[in-house]
């Protein structure tokens, strides 16, 4: 037990060390490039940039930049973050270990003789997958394997624990810039306290080290983004842009010219069916129906007579002919 704990601690330490080391390597390389004369110090005359940029390098009171000071500077943090952005994978991969449990659940559906286990005779997949799911190696896939999979899976955060967010998070490097007071490249719970993401700390801290690394913050931001977008998608009924026709038709000619149009520019082409650079009431009505209508007749039966003609349809004639099942030139309610 103690030995396991020591092993775990050592691994965590190594991981942290390795991350710190890789950041160290990056900043050391950057410092070496700045230290033109190789004396271990960067003075103002060695730096070609502006005074403000030189101050960003973490100079001491004596106006000299040492490696230690550089490591703590905003400039070095930005370089390290950029390097991790460029090299790290843009999103997490699917957790194959976490999927083990789901796969065993799915596999148990193959229990044709209902004896509570799936034997090789019932298995229709690859042999290697069978071995993969038979975690206890007893030659069957059963509930014992399911329990073992649950035990092995990393602490899978319950997605429902993530509080609801109304909007997406800021970019991670900006988060670190604002809240990483000790400049260690990660956010502690205390540092994040004042941010709206604070309630999600436990969810995001996958390795339970009490710190949110850039990778963990990235994962949190991705999850928040996905949920915010999913919540917004498909919920609201689409609404057409409201065109105040009589207000915009200043010359009262029954049409809105491009000069009179005050809405989004792209919509003119969308509404102007006959490409005459004027929008008639009929064209606007047709646009509104195409966005807000659901059934075919709601969208296209402009005169409400229960029949849609090719003129009303105004789409590709070949498609109209497919919908006009009896070939009489109109799509009646009986036809759809």
């Amino acid at each position: 037990m103690l030995r396991s704990a020591l092993v775990i601690l050592a691994s965590l330490g190594l991981a942290a060390t390795s991350f710190a080391q890789s950041a160290d390597v990056v900043t050391a390389e950057a410092f070496a490039r700045l230290d033109r004369n190789g004396d271990g110090r960067v003075v103002r005359s060695e730096f070609p940039g502006s005074d403000a940029q030189f101050r960003d390098l973490g100079a001491g009171a004596d106006g000299v930049v040492t490696l230690d000071g550089f490591r703590k500077s905003p400039f070095a943090r930005r370089i390290a973050a950029a390097r991790s952005r460029n090299e790290a994978e843009p999103r997490p991969r699917d957790d194959a270990d976490r999927q083990l449990g789901e796969r065993i659940d799915a596999a148990l559906r193959l229990d044709a003789n209902r004896d509570g286990r799936v034997s090789r005779g019932e298995w229709m997949g690859h042999e290697s997958h069978f071995l993969e799911l038979d975690l206890d190696g007893d030659g069957d896939i059963d509930r014992k394997d399911r329990s073992e999979a649950a035990r092995r899976a990393p602490a899978a955060p319950d997605l429902d624990d993530l509080p609801a967010f109304r909007r997406e998070l800021e970019p991670v490097d900006k988060l670190l810039d604002r809240f990483d007071r000790d400049r260690d490249g990660s956010l502690s719970e205390a540092e994040l306290r004042e941010h709206r993401a604070a309630p999600a700390f436990a969810w995001a801290d996958r390795d339970r080290d009490g710190l949110l690394s850039a990778a963990e913050l990235e994962r949190l931001a991705n999850e928040v983004r996905a949920r915010v977008r999913a919540r917004n998608l498909g919920k609201a009924r689409p609404a057409a842009y409201v065109v105040p026709f009589s207000t915009w038709d200043r010359d009262n000619d029954g049409r809105i010219s491009t000069a009179e149009w005050k809405g989004p520019a792209y919509l003119v082409a969308r509404i102007d069916r006959d490409r005459d650079a004027h929008l008639t009431k009929d064209e606007v009505d047709r646009y509104v129906r195409s966005v807000e209508g659901t059934t075919f007749h709601e969208r296209f039966d402009l005169d409400g007579d229960g029949r849609v003609t090719l003129e009303e349809f105004a789409g590709p004639p070949s498609a109209f002919r497919r919908l006009d099942r009896n070939g009489d030139g109109v799509v009646s309610r009986a036809e759809g």
Partner: protein, 1017 residues
């Protein structure tokens, strides 16, 4: 239309004996004499013939003696008055005006004058030539060259106008009254009918019926075809009619080089000289056998141009001068000539007199009429040639001298050694070839030789005809100008390297080729559209878009490779990712609803939803089943949250209807595929669920394939490829869907420890392509043929897997591929594969050629600035893929789905790649020309949020049957059939020679140099 028939009766026995004696004596002498350059002039003959010919040669001094073997005077054949001293008196005058167009004159039209012009005109040939050549005349009048019944019959069957696969229409009605009608022959043919005004105007068959008389009446013996006297610019078309069509040679330019002083040597439409010949060169045959009667082109290494293709003297790979009014493809790589042509042989060196002139029977099609076969000269693997044709007649110019066989050309007199198949497979014989012996074995005994030995097979999938009643056109039979101008030369897809096989009427496996398998459009007199790319249906209820068994006449000693039959389900008509014509409607899935789309193929940005159907449940994924004959949607299958499957009836496309909700226990449905009678659901960690949809409204689960994380499926029956997430690529044999069997599992990251991310998969059989193996093109090579799986691997990029041996896949991820598929923090979500015939540039800088392309949807870039692009790769050589420069347009939104959309916007086929976007159609990229200009058309639909999937109706032109062996495309020839599922499985599971590539333990290709470099341009 009055029906006439030619009653073919025979002279009396005594007459026949007398003339046989004369012919037996005179014919050999005539043959020798006519082959000499110096023939006695007619002056000398007239002196001998006496006063009957005196006057003629006064004007026609120098005219050649056309029949030197037997004394005949001019008037014996032509009629007229030999004593007259002026042309008015001497010549037979027409009793009525002769129309100066291409019509087929009536059978009884001004016979005296027609005989005067050409005594071998079929209307008068019995009186002119028949006295001596009666037997041959009888035969010719019943031959296919006279009736063209096979040529006419296919189209009528395909459009459901006849229910017999045995064609019985001809140029004129003919009866066979000699009392000897063998099995398969006809007793009569009727004259081809014309347009029937009573037909339904909205039916394709009504409009089709106008075509044969207007567009298909040029190439037969009853007329001179297009090359009417005096018509300029038809080089390659000028010919005679009747016997003269073959036996009198014409120059390409149709001008006379005769010594006859009276002939106008500047006017086209005259024979080369006043001579008969029996040494008929290929050039004469190709006066008709060009264009869609394409064997005359293929034999010579030519092919019709692909629409839009540049051609001419400046364009490499095309002819330099106009023939038949057009240029042709002549590409040493793509269209090598038939080896017999290359050796200097001519058509009649193989084809017998019976082949060309008939054997006295009314055969309906070439299948029956042609007696020469490869085995007639080359023997079989069991025995050498017995010097006879398949009809038991002696091949007259084939000889045997001990163990050697040789053929003497009837045209050049040259001697050609004829290799024997038996010798090629007999060890120890000088002609023995071990590779050939391995292939030419008993198990291949049912194959026609040219199944393997056809160099290339051209297929214009989708052949469009147009009929426009705003204009009139000449009915070539009636002579009336009637409403409806027709065009028939509109090709949709073009490909040169495909292979489709089936059984011919002899029960042998032969290549199938696209025949006259049409789509049709029509407009009325006001220009209103009556039909738009309508599809025909036969009386059997099958699609009339057919392929038929065909001897392609591109014979090469360099045979096709084994895998093209033994590892390609596409070969047996199960379809491919190519040759799919997008139709008028589509469907899209949002989280809440199913949208019906009107697809505007002319302007994709105007594609719009026309109806929205509320599903009543959150939707995850869907697909649509279409009917196999017309590719119209019948049902939609929508996987919804909670594991259920909704079945929707799409009979009324604008108003779908839920007919059933089935608890299928799906866990994480990602993609659905409906093919044949089965629905395959890629169900994430739930594996692949297979449902039987033989009763489409009542799907039943038949099996579950456990997988790691099934994200997508692709089917090349019997192999189902699964993009299996972290496990890589899984391959199963689903020949028995209730008991599928695992075949292989591919770790797409090989020795790399990272878990796989297989997200999307496409299967594609890449046929071999020919290329000139030496500067003269005397030998050709072939690129490798492969069954390929292209996989979108998320953060790992792209993998191409060679599944030619499905149980031993090879990952083609060598150095070139690693360098080519390199992205900036890329995330490859989707891909598509498609073959495009790339039109070259005017002036020939970029050559027209066919390439296979991989389109990859990839998200790249730094965090906060990630962009989605579609990148294009030429995978014609999949071991060494090439990125196409300057063709990676940015796309927006993104479901990860890429679709290929092929729109026939007459007269060109346009190819688009569509990235289905979350906010609507997304982005469509025109990839019709390569390198693609990357022209992107962004189309968004207001009100469509959260697109989950897109389905476009497509007519799969090369899907001939389904996985249960049910035909969708008919075959218009009798006694022909596709392979049954059992036969297909036997072929596909046959062992083939191993490849010699070396792989590492994970199946990754070790060295690219192990794989021959295929020719790509």
């Amino acid at each position: 239309m009055p029906r006439t028939h030619v009653a073919v009766s025979r002279p009396s026995p005594k007459t026949r004996r007398v003339w046989r004696a004369w012919i037996a004596f005179a014919a050999p002498i005539a043959a020798v004499l006519t082959s000499l350059l110096q023939t006695p002039s007619l002056d000398a003959r007239t002196a001998e013939a006496g006063p009957r010919a005196e006057g003629c040669v006064t004007c026609h001094a120098g005219i050649e003696d056309i029949h030197p073997g037997f004394p005949l005077s001019c008037v014996d054949c032509h009629g007229g008055d030999p004593k007259a001293t002026d042309v008015e008196g001497a010549h037979v005058r027409p009793s009525r005006p002769i129309p100066a167009d291409e019509r087929v004159l009536p059978e009884r039209h001004d016979l005296a004058y027609l005989r005067f012009v050409n005594p071998s005109n079929l209307r008068v040939v019995r009186e002119a030539c028949g006295d001596c050549h009666g037997t041959i005349v009888d035969r010719v009048l019943k031959s296919l060259h006279a009736t063209t019944s096979g040529h006419l019959g296919d189209g009528f069957y395909e459009h459901g106008l006849t229910d017999s696969k045995r064609p019985y229409y001809g140029v004129f009605a003919v009866r066979d009254e000699d009392g000897d009608v063998p099995e398969g022959a006809l007793t009569a043919v009727e004259q081809v009918p014309g347009f029937d005004k009573r037909g339904h105007r909205d039916r394709i068959e009504t409009h089709y019926a106008d075509l044969p008389r207007k567009a298909c009446m040029h190439c037969h013996l009853w007329s001179e075809g297009r090359a009417v006297d005096g018509r300029l610019g038809l080089d390659g078309d000028y010919r005679g009619e009747g016997c003269a069509a073959c036996h009198v040679t014409y120059a390409d330019d149709g001008r006379s080089r005769s010594a006859d002083q009276s002939i106008d040597h500047t006017e086209p439409g005259h024979p080369l000289a006043h001579r008969f010949t029996s040494a008929i060169p290929t050039d004469t045959c190709t006066r008709c056998h060009y264009g869609d009667a394409s064997i005359g082109l293929h034999f010579r290494g030519l092919a019709q141009l692909v629409p839009g293709m540049p051609a001419g003297p400046d364009v490499e790979g095309t002819t330099d001068r106009l023939q038949n009014g057009v240029f042709y493809i002549r590409d040493r790589d793509m269209t090598p000539p038939d080896v017999h042509h290359q050796a200097g042989m001519h058509c009649i060196d193989c084809h017998t007199g019976a082949d060309a002139m008939g054997d006295g029977n009314l055969w309906p099609q070439m299948d029956h009429a042609v007696e020469i076969e490869c085995e007639s000269c080359h023997g079989t693997v069991d025995d050498v040639s017995d010097l006879t044709t398949s009809h038991g007649r002696r091949v007259p110019n084939l000889h045997r001298d001990g163990d050697e066989f040789f053929l003497v050309s009837k045209v050049t007199g040259r001697r050609h050694r004829v290799k024997q198949s038996r010798h090629v497979v007999t060890p120890g014989h000088p002609d023995y070839r071990p590779a050939a012996a391995a292939a030419m074995n008993q198990s291949h005994g049912r194959l026609e030789c040219y199944t393997c030995h056809s160099g290339w097979n051209v297929d214009f999938f989708g052949f469009h005809f147009d009929r426009n009643e705003q204009f009139t056109q000449l009915d070539l039979i009636s002579g009336d100008r009637t409403p409806g101008r027709v065009t028939t030369q509109e090709k949709v897809f073009a490909t040169f390297n495909q292979l489709r096989l089936g059984f011919n009427h002899e029960g042998r496996i032969a290549p199938y080729m696209v025949g006259f398998s049409t789509l049709g459009s029509a407009r009325d007199a006001d220009g209103e559209i009556l039909l738009h790319q309508a599809t025909p249906e036969t009386k059997a209820g099958l699609s009339g878009i057919t392929l038929v068994p065909h001897q392609v006449h591109t014979t090469r000693p360099e045979a096709r490779t084994c895998v093209e039959c033994h590892r390609s389900p596409t070969t047996y008509g199960l379809g491919s990712v190519n040759f799919r014509l997008t139709r008028e409607l589509g469907y899209a899935l949002t989280p809440q609803s199913l949208l019906t789309l009107a697809v505007d193929t002319r302007n994709l940005a105007r594609t719009q939803p026309v109806a929205e159907f509320d599903l009543g449940a959150p939707a995850e994924a869907f697909t649509v089943r279409t009917d196999p004959v017309h590719a119209r949607s019948t049902h939609a299958y929508v996987a919804v949250e909670g594991g259920d499957l909704l079945v929707l009836d799409l009979a009324v496309a604008s108003s779908p209807r839920i007919v059933r909700r089935i608890p299928t226990g799906l866990l994480d449905p990602r993609k659905l595929l409906a093919q044949g009678d089965h629905l395959y659901v890629a169900d994430g960690t739930g594996g692949v669920t297979i449902l039987d949809i033989a009763r489409p409204e009542n799907p039943t689960r038949v099996s579950i394939l456990p997988c790691a994380d099934a994200r997508d499926v692709a089917l090349q029956w019997p192999w189902l490829a699964v993009a299996d997430g972290s496990a890589g690529l899984s391959v199963f044999d689903v020949s028995n869907p209730a008991q599928p069997a695992p075949v292989s599992l591919v770790d797409l990251n090989g020795g790399d420890a990272r878990a796989n991310e297989a997200l999307d998969v496409e299967l594609f059989f890449q046929y071999s392509r020919t290329f000139a193996a030496d500067p003269d093109g005397a030998r050709i090579g072939r690129t490798d043929a492969r069954l390929l799986a292209c996989v979108a691997c998320g953060l790992d990029g792209v993998r191409i897997v060679d599944l030619t041996r499905p149980d031993a896949p090879v990952v083609l991820h060598g150095a070139t591929a690693r360098n080519t598929f390199r992205f900036a923090r890329g995330d490859v979500r989707g891909l598509a594969v498609h073959t495009v015939f790339d039109i070259g540039t005017e002036g020939g800088g970029l050559r027209s050629a066919e390439h296979d392309y991989l389109y990859v949807l990839v998200e790249e870039g730094e965090d906060g600035n990630r962009q989605r692009r579609v990148r294009t790769y030429d995978i014609s050589d999949p071991v060494r893929p090439r990125a196409m420069p300057d063709s990676s347009p940015r796309v927006y939104g993104g479901t990860g789905e890429l679709h290929v959309l092929c729109a026939y916007n007459e007269p060109f086929l346009q190819h688009f790649v569509v990235a289905a976007g979350a906010g609507g159609l997304g982005t469509a990229i025109d990839v019709s020309k390569a390198p693609s200009t990357g022209t992107a058309i962004a189309a968004t639909w207001d009100g469509v949020q959260g697109l989950r999937g897109l389905f476009l109706e497509e007519l799969a032109l090369d899907r001939l049957q389904d996985e249960r062996g049910r035909w969708s495309k008919d075959i218009s020839h009798e006694d022909c059939r596709y392979l049954t599922p059992d036969e297909m499985l036997r072929a596909l599971r046959t062992g083939v020679p191993d490849t010699t590539v070396r792989t590492d333990p994970y199946g990754f290709l070790l060295e690219e140099r192990d794989v021959p470099r295929g020719r790509t341009r």
